[in-house]
Symmetry: C2
Subunit: 767 residues, 2 copies
């Protein structure tokens, strides 16, 4: 795909012109989701060209048997992965008896896709030239209802320049496969296939995990917006069911099919009641027109944008990008279900198994916390609390004891899925991100109740892990953490990764503080948790001692911390001095060459300095930024955002803006040449952070919202909303001006450039 394939527009993603080579990329870009289900922008009608079919039901996964070359003790037996679910969008179309297929028509004109991010409506339209001068115009409009999470809606309209016979067959189909299957296993068993007049239903169950999913549809036909009293013929095979309509369509008239469909799953309903649940969804919607359903959709999305929108004046490219990111994050996760989480590709592809990574804690929680509400953020924390037992089991498999918890690198249900020893067993810093998220949530919301209700148990499990995982070096007379992989996955099995050691030290101290604090503020609660976790005073002493004596590698001469022991033994050639033909290095170099190089995949030391920024003075931050960034290749989508935020803080404005563009338009401009596999959902939250924490310099300090605005030169204005402790703050920044408005009449205060300002309603300042 070419860079800048999709023209800039503040609210829309548009594709114009037919190019079969771009079908799979656009299937990703125009993906729809409503938190409960997702759908790649596959064509409804048959398409014989290359396509990547994807329909996904949130939380429904399959444990695929692990595939490795060489087994290592401790590897998980399964890799839980997202499932391509039965297809509900399909519409077979025959014109004058011939199957319609965009891949084989004589010509395609006026081909256009459009995604309206204001309401999540996706439209595809084109005119196809068939034999004998016949031209067929088709418009398909589709959305997944935010108001009705089990419902999707398609309006599929056909117009021809000659009278034609139209055979149109909406269907549901369980004859699908997963591209990402280790052993070409079947993932689904089909339990029922049923068709009647204008409805069809398939019930299928995932093998092993036994999730039952009902895929359903109902259809009706209209001509010139009048309902047609046309009897469809039900049909079914062992995997597919639907309705076939025959209609003689006059030249210039428009035939429209309204198809309602979607999924009901056993995650939400009794298995025996699935079919009835599907019928209820259809019955509730069937008397509503497409317009009426769309009106609900408009309203639901308007509510999302109300607290989440960001406007950028003077830079439509940046504007489109940030809206695309916010839109996708809201398509992926709505925050109502503590059993769901945010997969790196959301509902837009199969890669990375649709599973949960530390991305959620490090990148996504700040976004959902500020643009939705405290409850949504709490649900994301609760997800990990509910999986604490599994994290303890996981640590047990690696030899840890007494309630030590190691959260998985990749998971669906709390069990570890991943199977590269250098990641699975060694990328243990993920534990710290989970503790940090608890701290970050508390800092932002002021809600201390989570600590005593759930958080402290998680923190104790994590700190027990660190206390066991750190070992005492007699040679150094300090505690060391050997054999780890840091956030920079271009180093494996290193000793004393600074980020890991520092964050472990922080976890131990933070947990100890929380225990002490709870003992003084709610002694009964503290006693309950200590009893439940068999906590002993000796542990507290050991934690304090381990934290106190934690070894943190540094180089005094350079005035920087060291990414790991021995980092300075490498050949320190900066990224700028590499041959551009050799980049990205992960596509050009053998793995060992990458490992012994100084190149950094994503923020590592700087990830720590970002998390724990308040513990370092500005000079230290700058020395470390200036030392490490030049060795960073940013070959993870999670890299540029952290650098954008730090660059903003350090007044490196051009750099900050360059990082922002790279992170925000990663998928739209397909920097990594892989967008056809799906979108980089979790890094989109990093884009939001780049603006809010970067250019607006927002922090929460001592319970106060604080700002250090630093707008990119190109931007005339930036505005965004923040839900901070149940008040919606609207921030409007222009070059030199700061304006903040709240949605209530209470006394408020903000800190701007270190100075506290009290106000009611609104405040405007020069900055």
């Amino acid at each position: 795909m070419k860079l800048e394939h999709y023209p800039h527009h503040p609210w829309k993603i548009i594709e114009e012109g037919w190019n079969p080579d771009n079908v799979e990329a656009s299937e990703s870009i125009f993906s729809l989701g409503n938190g409960a289900m997702g759908q790649r922008a596959n064509f409804e009608e048959h398409y014989s060209g290359p396509t990547f079919q994807g329909s996904y039901v949130g939380g429904v996964y399959y444990p695929d048997k692990t595939k490795v070359g060489w087994w290592k003790n401790g590897y998980p037996e399964y890799f839980a992965k997202v499932l391509n679910a039965p297809n509900w969008i399909g519409i077979d179309l025959k014109i004058n008896g011939v199957v319609f297929d965009l891949n084989t028509v004589k010509a395609v004109k006026a081909y256009r896709r459009e995604l309206d991010m204001q309401n999540g409506l996706y439209t595809r339209a084109f005119t196809a030239e068939l034999e004998n001068g016949l031209e067929l115009s088709l418009e398909s409009q589709r959305f997944l209802s935010l108001a009705r999470p089990e419902l999707g809606v398609i309006q599929y309209s056909i117009t021809a320049n000659q009278e034609v016979n139209v055979e149109i067959s909406p269907y549901v189909d369980a004859g699908i496969s997963n591209q990402d299957s280790n052993w070409d296993d079947q993932f689904w068993a089909i339990d029922a296939v049923e068709a009647q007049a204008a409805q069809a239903y398939i019930e299928a169950q995932t093998l092993k995990t036994a999730f039952s999913v009902g895929t359903f549809m109902a259809s009706s036909l209209f001509e010139a917006q009048e309902a047609l009293a046309l009897e469809g013929a039900a049909f079914q095979t062992d995997k597919k069911a639907g309705t076939t309509y025959q209609h003689q369509l006059a030249a210039g008239k428009t035939l429209s099919l309204l198809k309602l469909g979607g999924y009901v799953s056993s995650r939400k309903h009794e298995k025996t009641a699935l079919k009835a649940a599907a019928q209820t969804v259809l019955d509730d919607a069937k008397n509503l027109s497409f317009s009426a359903l769309l009106a609900e959709q408009n309203e639901a999305w308007a509510a999302v944008w109300k607290s989440a929108d960001i406007t950028i004046e003077g830079d439509v490219k940046a504007q489109q990008a940030i809206r695309f990111n916010i839109f996708q994050l809201n398509q992926t996760y709505t925050g109502e279900d503590a059993g769901l989480n945010i997969g790196p590709k959301g509902f837009t592809g199969e890669k990375y198994g649709g599973s949960t990574y530390w991305d959620t804690e490090a990148y996504c929680i700040p976004f959902y916390m500020a643009t939705k509400n405290q409850k949504v953020a709490r649900n994301l924390l609760t997800y990990r609390y509910l999986q604490l037992d599994r994290a303890i089991e996981n640590a047990g498999k690696l030899g840890f004891t007494k309630g030590a918890a190691l959260y998985p690198m990749v998971t669906m249900n709390g069990e570890e899925c991943h199977n590269e020893w250098e990641i699975t067993f060694e990328e243990i810093h993920r534990n710290s991100a989970i503790a940090f998220a608890i701290f970050n949530y508390t800092r932002y919301t002021g809600d201390l109740s989570y600590i005593s209700e759930m958080g402290l148990e998680v923190l104790i499990g994590i700190s027990r892990f660190w206390a066991q995982r750190a070992s005492f070096s007699a040679a150094k007379n300090q505690y060391v953490i050997l054999g780890v992989t840091g956030p920079n996955e271009y180093e494996n099995n290193v000793n004393n990764n600074w980020y890991t050691n520092y964050s472990a030290q922080w976890c131990l101290r933070y947990t100890a503080e929380q225990i002490e604090q709870l003992r003084s503020t709610a002694p009964e609660e503290a006693a309950r948790i200590e009893a439940k976790t068999n906590f002993s005073e000796a542990e507290l002493e050991q934690w304090n001692k381990t934290a106190e004596q934690m070894y943190l590698p540094e180089d005094a001469a350079l005035g920087v911390v060291l990414q790991q022991d021995g980092f300075l033994d490498k050949e320190m050639v900066k990224v700028a001095d590499l041959d551009p033909k050799e980049r990205p290095i992960n596509q050009h170099w053998s793995w060992d060459r990458i490992l012994r190089s100084p190149y950094i995949k994503q923020a590592d030391v700087l990830q720590g300095m970002y998390f724990f920024e308040d513990q370092f003075d500005l000079d230290t931050l700058e020395r470390n930024f200036d030392f490490y960034e030049p060795f960073t290749v940013h070959e993870s989508s999670l890299s540029p955002c952290v650098h954008a935020i730090m660059a903003s803080k350090l007044n490196k404005n051009e750099q900050a803006y360059a990082f922002y563009l790279r992170t925000s338009r990663l998928d739209l401009d397909d920097y990594n040449a892989e967008v056809e596999e799906g979108l980089h959902i979790t890094s989109m939250a990093g884009t939001w952070m780049s603006i809010v924490e970067g250019f607006a310099g927002m922090r929460v300090i001592d319970g106060q919202l604080s700002f250090e605005p630093n707008l990119p030169e190109a931007w005339e204005g930036l505005s965004f909303k923040i839900n901070f402790r149940d008040t919606i703050y609207t921030l409007q920044l222009t070059q030199g001006r700061f304006c903040c408005t709240v949605d209530n009449e209470a006394d408020c205060s903000v800190v701007v450039r270190g100075e506290k300002h009290r106000f009611t309603g609104s405040i405007e300042l020069s900055v």
Copy 2:
């Protein structure tokens, strides 16, 4: 299998008593081989119990598609592996119309297997109780002819206590599979299946590699040693062909089937001439009786033992063990084919793909060099020379240039097969072992011609690799080698593994010396090689500089070298203090726990001190041995021998003897509980080294054989033969006495305990 399942006997391996649980282990222990082919001790007749079928043709392999969980740049696409070849030993047997099957008979009595190591004759005998008081006695004798490398011989004899109808059907069968197959691919395509009267032939071709193999047989029947004029009926299916004989056998009479069979392959014959070649093998042998063929076999093995036998007086357990090791090494490799090498499991199983490892250079060459002759050792060196181009290609795939050669970790044809990054890309010390073998060969044989004819090109390729792989550390102001795995595979991706750095330094210096020497002794040869390899003076300078400034980690306070940077940061708990229930750690601990422990799988620092012993004083050797051995878990079969040799040198006699027993009886006593997978062939050469270099303290110093005898207390005497520069030395050591006899009348000398003794014929000394 129980330890000490096989009773002690100086020349035989014996199993007595029927136990189906032991079938697969004994199939390994009683394996036969003649260098050209191998055969596990599978039963000839049908057996429905658990069995691991294995028939192997030397040098015939299949490139199985690589299986990995996560692909890394640089991984090879294929893993070449040994193939289970069509079966030539099979004999179907029906008694009174019922298939005979040891797994289903009423009882088995007097079951006995015996392997006579003096002549490689394997005998299996038993009496089986069938229905109605019928007892059937069966004796099968089998050998693979050392004199006729394409021929195997079976005499299969049946006696019953009642008159019985015997239907006996010798066959060849290509309906076989490989247990070790990544994707359950077919490995063979069958080209021809033919049966006629008493002969059968199958021609099959390996897929991808297109080796053609003809599997053939001929049979004849005898009663009471008289040939029976019995017409067999030829039969064939699409995969199997043979001859069926019907015979009414009187009570107490013995029916014997003589089956000749084996393989001809396209490695030795034109494909179109394969069938004719098979016929020639049969025609040459068919007029010889079993006894006559066995007489040849006796003679051929006598010649092997003449220069390879070791006798140990007073310790039958040790005696049996060393003969088993010598026997297996000679079954595996006869030294006549520079295209063959020594797989870690020889012809006894599939694991490790039957491929070549650095085991050959580090462990096997000394054995073959001393017990066979210079030509055999040279063939093993030539094997690598012939693969130099592939080693250069292999280095190229990892980003090295200008003729740098990285020999593969695992190979059949010179291409790398293995696919664990920490091994494939990082266990690069294998390059040094290949250079060391050239040095060792030259030191032992005095043959300098190999250097100029082949060796120097190999050395230049290897040194070019080291010069590029070492990088300059500005921090240390020295050359470092980052990101390696040493011989101790319980450490991965470490920096500055002492063994790797030291051996790289040695390679660079040794290559430079050889160039300088050749320039002065044979300037034309030197010029030819320099031109062929595009060698430049600047390289020589770089090599000298890199060697000069090579960083070698050490701890001055402890007076030891460091296995790698940071080794002393580990929790230094000795192996003796581990809970025995947790051993072997590779079966009880997760991989990350092993990696961050101090435990050593096999000699690492000590491997270097063994290779380069003369460069260290005795105190240094002892300090390092005393420091590292207590952290060594010896979980590689290659570990104990090096420690036995060093312990002998350091007068730690009890330790040396304990190591010897562990290495020599590894398979017979099944220390690793895995003998059913095959035997540990390459470590058997280490056993021989333990005796010759360990207890006899043999070295070659300045072209002189030198000895430092140090017999285990339990041993009354030790004698062995050495072919040193075309003289056979017979060494006879008893406690306090040293006797050496040579097989010619030339003036000889040996150094004993540092003192040189000249003699003719024989010398006896007190020691």
